[in-house]
Assembly symmetry: C2
Homo-oligomer: 397 residues x 2
């Protein structure tokens, strides 16, 4: 029995890959960076300086700059929401089936911007970035960040790009929280929001999973109180965190259908013989993850998710929800138990009680939280229709 | 941020404690041990010798020995299913509200036997026991065990006690698997079974949680490939395993009701300030657990649960279910998602298709898997009524 079982089955990639549509021609993109030397003032009052943001854009901005859509990624996502960097890339960006010519976020019509979040590890300043004051990675000296700080960092990027109005902001999971917070923080700039598989505040069960994931990381001796950048990575801890995460991304029924109780081999390293396919799948996902993600980012971003509460500073949850004035299309998936339809509905109900005309669709799916990266045919038309309606509304068409 | 946060709130004990009824007078018991020098031959062909079994009994055996009820404990349970060892004990055995004078398992009428399972760490031979061949704890040289091996070990105990017929076998969770397997392995000896919060085979989601729990343990450097008995315990790993376990024992709705998103203090050791109550609860449960449970037992017992399949060796699941000839009362709880009503119903349906007259009650509860240690008023009468009926049936009353 070892902690790193190296079985790498062929078809166990992320659902986003499996479900990639390849109907249209490939679109190509590149990751760009902008650095703000004056940095960013956080809601805590602390300053991160300089601030670098990694971002990608798709399509062309209109002369009136009225066709901009901002896309916010999930916990372990990045700015690469669509397209390919090179012809030889094995797979496209994480929401590619929704973004491109003729797709829901139609790059023939709209200008799409997607940035890596503040605190991330895919080009935007985060705990792995070098602190110019010390010449070393921030590690735990990186300030605590919130979803609002992520939104404010994106706001600086949009300012830099000369964008003042957003036709829509969309994203799933943690990205959906940023979407909501955009409407709260900058109501005059956000014409519509499309939050997918998200909620106004994480459930205690969601917080519980975040915490055991973090504990797995910080209990790894290689974590070394966050100072591992010059040594061994806390790989075992991060693998376990990712394995737990993947359990919460699937549903019990999708696991049953995909893996059942099938066993796949005799694991020569194990005292216990056969390994179940679901175990092998989780190990595969864990092993892949440590190659690309920073453990400290995982801690900072999950904390930001845990603490996000749309009603922060408000008397009631309804007051929090009522802060959203933008037009809104909410989408959730029936078997999602990490960001459950119940929680999306709680937010939608609160908005409706405040007189907001909210569109909300609970999509039938057995794919759990992963559904927003799988069930494109079931919801992409809702998005395209909604955006067109919003666009016409603001152009008196 | 530390991995061992030492907050110990007052009322966050196991649900069994919180729900203990104290209507009747206390009953007292003692843990007994019997050692079989010839040991036990496992289904694998391996032998564990000697075999010691820790057990407790309650009530008196009838002259005809027709009033014996066997109780099987869950993963981290033990032989102490009811009563107190001493007047000063803070809490009674784990199923005390069901077992005692006038209770569902009425010790005025029945003779109750409960033993610590094979592979456990509460008195019965397990990985922490000394291997007489080496003079050292078995650790991972302990043979792999199955639910059937646990049942066969209990069978030796009952032989020793001169018991040939069981009026009933009952237990919850992993204990429920033993209950089912008793009816399959010794159909002529088992007059009835009362499996609670269990299923004929663990779901892939259940296996997934088992595996990340085990990974947390074996990734702890102190685990040392199972050889930690003379050194530091793999406490961090076992704490994380227990924290994950507790998430699966509660339901999302019970967490919401019990903890909500309340924060309870500023954690001075944390970079991130406030701690949610659910986090504090899980840490408390984890910290308590390492004081009493053996990490290797956790690995062996979860593996036995994962591999248990009532249809093993059968062509179909229905054939597996049809092996149960005993009268049966199944109980599940609506919000249990570790051993969900769907899975209990799968087994019950399969038995009914084979012509078995099975009683099955799905109890409304929001307590999740823990419900079988909480919701006594909702199901104890089902048990007492069922046992009385079985008893009368076999005594032509």
């Amino acid at each position: 029995m070892t902690s790193n079982i190296k079985i790498q089955p062929e078809n166990w990639d992320d659902p986003s890959t499996a479900a990639t549509s390849s109907g249209g021609s490939k679109i190509f993109t590149q990751k760009k960076h902008v650095t703000f030397e004056d940095g960013i003032v956080l809601t805590s009052g602390e300053i991160i300086s300089p601030l670098t943001i990694a971002y990608e854009t798709f399509g062309s901005i209109s002369p009136k700059k009225d066709n901009v859509i901002l896309i916010d990624h999930a916990l372990t996502g990045d700015s690469h929401c669509a397209g390919y960097y090179t012809e030889s890339d094995a797979k496209p960006g994480w929401w590619d089936p929704l973004i491109g010519p003729g797709k829901a976020f139609d790059t023939n019509k709209y200008f799409i911007v997607c940035s890596n979040c503040l605190g991330g590890c895919e080009g935007t300043t985060g705990p792995a970035s070098v602190n110019p004051k010390t010449g070393k990675p921030y590690a735990l000296s990186f300030p605590v960040i919130t979803i609002r700080d992520m939104v404010n960092a994106q706001h600086k990027l949009l300012d830099h790009l000369g964008i003042d109005k957003l036709l829509a902001v969309s994203g799933g999971s943690m990205g959906g929280m940023s979407v909501l917070d955009w409407a709260v923080a900058y109501p005059e700039k956000v014409r519509s929001i499309i939050p997918v598989s998200t909620c106004g505040r994480l459930s205690p069960q969601g917080i519980a999973f975040s915490e055991v994931e973090r504990q797995a990381i910080i209990s790894d001796p290689n974590w070394n109180n966050g100072n591992y950048y010059n040594g061994e990575l806390p790989a075992n801890g991060l693998i376990i965190a990712r394995m737990i995460g993947h359990i919460t991304y699937l549903s019990s029924e999708s696991m049953l259908r995909k893996f059942g109780r099938r066993t796949r081999n005799n694991d020569a390293n194990s005292r216990f013989g056969k390994q179940f396919e679901i175990e092998s799948y989780l190990h595969y996902q864990g092993d892949k993850f440590v190659e690309r993600f920073d453990a400290n980012s995982y801690i900072y971003l999950t904390k930001a998710m845990d603490f996000y509460d749309i009603a922060e500073g408000c008397k009631t949850f309804e007051d929090g929800a009522a802060q959203i004035k933008s037009k809104a299309l909410f989408i959730s998936f029936r078997s999602d138990w990490l960001f459950s339809p119940r929680e999306t509905a709680e937010l939608v109900d609160a908005m409706r009680k405040s007189g907001r005309e909210v569109d909300y669709h609970e999509i039938e799916s057995e794919y759990g939280h992963d559904a927003f990266l799988v069930e494109y045919p079931k919801y992409s038309y809702l998005i395209s229709r909604f955006i067109e309606r919003v666009y016409r509304f603001y152009n008196n068409d």
